[in-house]
């Protein structure tokens, strides 16, 4: 990560946000028919649609777990979601994000209620402007709730980062590209447990402390948006 551009000016960021301010958000639940559950989440220029299928039988059978179900996540960039068209098909980056998403979501579902089953969470990035894994998890968590999967809580996700040696919340594209640290987290809003944590870049523990605080606050705000979307659908269904 280089630092060519001026990313902070008079305490404001390139899009005018304060250091601890999220991009504008939009959320929706139940947007698809065929899936068991679905969700949409947008943070600034990053948009993701998620669908959930299951619990359903896991194939091939010898991968089934007798005591509990599993969650399988697929994270995928639409070919037109990035500047240079992305060739369809799995990428190394996408595989890794699928795995950490599984780690983030598995802790909130009562998987022991679904022995031998799989719950499949598909997250399709329609537009990518940084923070795609966080937005994907936010959409995925909405979809899981929309599917009526019994859960211990809600997972909400956002990233903190460091630009010009300053901790800030929710990097957008240019900030991510030219910034110093990217720290995406996901949190169980009920318990405060952090269920996804990744970090690139150089930092010390003191800065890390500050970035974690920013990100945790951010997750709380994301959760509000997710809850609104779920309430609206819940209202619709009545």
């Amino acid at each position: 990560m280089s630092e060519d551009k001026e990313l902070l000016k008079d305490g404001k960021r390139i899009d005018g946000r304060a250091k601890d301010e999220l991009r504008d958000m939009e959320a929706e639940a139940g947007i698809l028919k065929r899936a068991d559950g679905s969700g949409y989440f947008r943070m600034g220029g990053t948009e993701v649609i998620a669908s959930v299928f299951g619990p359903r039988e896991l194939h091939p059978k010898h991968k089934q777990k007798p005591q509990r179900g599993i969650i399988q996540c697929r994270y995928n960039l639409a070919p037109f979601s990035v500047d240079d068209r992305k060739r369809p098909g799995p990428s190394r980056r996408g595989k890794e994000i699928g795995k950490v998403a599984e780690g983030a979501l598995s802790s909130i579902v009562f998987l022991e209620e679904f022995p031998t089953a799989t719950i499949d969470v598909y997250m399709e990035v329609i537009s990518a402007d940084a923070g795609t894994r966080c937005v994907a998890l936010n959409a995925g968590a909405i979809a899981l709730a929309d599917a009526g999967i019994p859960m211990k809580g809600l997972i909400s996700s956002c990233a903190a980062g460091k630009i010009e040696d300053t901790p800030v919340l929710d990097l957008k594209g240019e900030e991510d590209k030219d910034g110093q640290v990217d720290l995406p987290i996901a949190m169980n809003i009920e318990t405060g447990e952090i269920t996804l944590l990744q970090m690139d870049g150089m930092t010390d523990i003191d800065e890390m402390d500050k970035m974690l605080d920013l990100a945790i606050d951010g997750c709380e705000k994301v959760a509000e948006k997710q809850r609104e979307a779920l309430m609206e659908t819940f209202g619709d269904k009545k």
Partner: protein, 256 residues
């Protein structure tokens, strides 16, 4: 999750035979249609088509490439469709299967045969560098008739597209100008049950019709045909279907 049951299939069939539809439409009536553009911000052009509960996003990207040896002075058009597992319990991860490939190729032919895209104007340096126009069909929710929804989305996204600038081997995505599209091919799929024709078959209907024909009309001419499904058609039936498709495609054309 909606798995199709035998009971639903029988209901769909009985309805059509008595001149009705399971979703209370007329035989020759489309489901509700909505077309929204600019839905994928990183795409040079994009359109979301909602056809009943079927939802498709089509995105257009421009890139640079080397032309095909036999057309050194022409740009390239690529149409790709992904029927990803998010859109239906019947779709699996992996490279495009027969259904996705047919979908992409029928839409590709519809655009190519009528020369909707002026490929010869997309040449930058003969034999060396040309524009690639990449049309990606991304299915979000499959409730039937992906063909008509995707074709509509593709031509809409192309018509909305801003073509990026070019300088010294670089694509300048900030400098766009309107992209020229010469024709408006519209695909319209007609299904048959006995002597009844239906427009815009839904998911369950696709399973029970005797067969379907996807007919692509430009403003004046037929430019592509694709019979789909297992049944067959008498010649006279086909001619009726072509006329019906022409008539109905004008309803879809209003969304362009």
């Amino acid at each position: 999750m909606m798995e199709i049951t035998e009971i639903e299939e029988e209901a769909a069939l009985d309805n059509i035979k008595s001149g009705e539809r399971i979703d209370d439409r007329d035989l020759k009536e489309f489901r509700d249609i909505e077309v929204v553009t600019g839905v994928a911000k990183k795409a040079e052009g994009s359109a979301k088509v909602v056809l009943g509960d079927t939802k498709v996003i089509v995105g257009v990207k421009f890139g640079l490439g080397e032309p095909f040896p036999d057309t050194p002075d022409e740009g390239m058009l690529m149409v790709n469709a992904e029927l990803g597992p998010m859109a239906s319990p019947d779709f699996e991860s992996g490279p495009p299967g027969k259904d996705a490939t047919e979908l992409a190729r029928v839409i590709d032919r519809g655009l190519r045969e009528c020369e909707a895209i002026p490929l010869e104007e997309l040449c930058i340096e003969e034999g060396e560098k040309v524009w690639k126009v990449m049309v990606d069909i991304h299915v979000l929710d499959h409730d039937g008739n992906l063909m008509d929804a995707s074709a509509l989305g593709a031509i809409k996204a192309l018509k909305e597209a801003e073509m990026p600038g070019y300088e010294d081997g670089e694509v300048l995505r900030d400098e766009g100008e309107d992209f020229e599209v010469l024709k408006t091919p519209i695909a319209c799929t007609i299904g048959k049950v006995d002597d009844k024709y239906i427009v815009d078959p839904g998911l369950v209907e696709e399973e029970v019709v005797d067969g379907m024909v996807t007919v692509t009309w430009t403003e004046e001419e037929l430019c592509s045909l694709q019979k789909r499904g297992n049944g067959g058609f008498q010649k006279e039936e086909l001619l009726e279907i072509f006329e019906l498709a022409k008539e109905k495609s004008s309803e879809l054309r209003k969304f362009i």
